[in-house]
Symmetry: C2
Subunit: 198 residues, 2 copies
Amino acid sequence: MAGKVEARRAALREKLVELAEAQIVAEGLGSLKARQLAKEAGCALGAIYNVFEDMTALVLEVNGRTFQQLGATVRGSLEGAEHLDPNARLIRMSHAYLGYAADNTHLWRALFDVDMSTENAVPQWYMQALGELFALIAAPLAELFPEKDRDELSLMTRALFSSVHGMVLLGLQQRISGVPRDQIAEMISQVLGQIGKN
Amino acid sequence: MAGKVEARRAALREKLVELAEAQIVAEGLGSLKARQLAKEAGCALGAIYNVFEDMTALVLEVNGRTFQQLGATVRGSLEGAEHLDPNARLIRMSHAYLGYAADNTHLWRALFDVDMSTENAVPQWYMQALGELFALIAAPLAELFPEKDRDELSLMTRALFSSVHGMVLLGLQQRISGVPRDQIAEMISQVLGQIGKN
DNA sequence: CAAACACATTGAACGTCGTTCATGACTACC
DNA sequence: GGTAGTCATGAACGACGTTCAATGTGTTTG
């Protein structure tokens, strides 16, 4: 009967992550409460802390899954698009990013809204997943700007990612500059369409 | 002796806004606490709620000032730059936006981090101040794209603002894509430099 | 000027939050 | 089957924004 405890903990861990994800999907990160979560999982309040360092760690676990999905979505947008010119590929990826964010707004927002102030260590998988995303962007850019060196390409990559992120972020939120999804896509096309033209 | 109460309330209101602003400047929006604020202002905890609907209303007051400063900064960046081509003016404004955000990070972040979920009514001055900012961007764009109609220009304006905002946002925060300020400026120049070229 | 009323101010108390930890229960090993 | 060690439990803690009965002050009237 060895490992009974570990099995139980692993099961609880899994259940908590799934319930937390469901809650974030349904009502956003701000609605995720430890007590409610424990009740839904049928466990004690304190049990959460046997399995996760704190609530932030639990959210980071959810974010890990989200990042996987987001990465897969962006990567998938390139399938069957290898023949397109670099510019069109950039736009496809950006539209995929927009699509994921629009269809999974709460999960996507949790990626950026989670508290990372205290934990000075951003999880390494966070940076790695981001690096993979950046690599997808860098490839078409390298074709567009063959004369640029590694550092210049890296900067351009970050610039474009941040640009698209900004348009999606503000476009999706009512407050600042809320706009229908088609128009966000149009904005992205307009801005990215100019890249590399000279 | 009529109006003694109102004078006191007005003075308290002013003092609270200034203390709140100082606190946000020093340690960010998340560090602003009602009890600490009351202590610093030398008033009762409940006194805050005699003068403001809730803490969010107080923060919105601070944000009002911030928006004024930000607008003035961006507007000021155009002084003596009227002779520059539209593209260069866009870049100047964007660099001014970056400069304000970098020099007043906490105040600037409060503009976007304040809770506006419950209060369905975004203050009208919020939208107005934003509209003025957008107008500054729209002017050079209208020169760059004389063939575009009002709606197209509006979309382009929002697109560029959001792009620049995204680059500044992610560039200034350690987490995602933190980068020295010069490099953020360089990113902006790269992206905006392409606009309107064809 | 004084008295009585209206209203502003107060801070203890409320409900909620994340997190902790003494206690009691259960597992694992002999 | 008994015992030592480990784990789960949920009441309790401190901090938070917010409220409201009680207290104090300003204003008005006789």
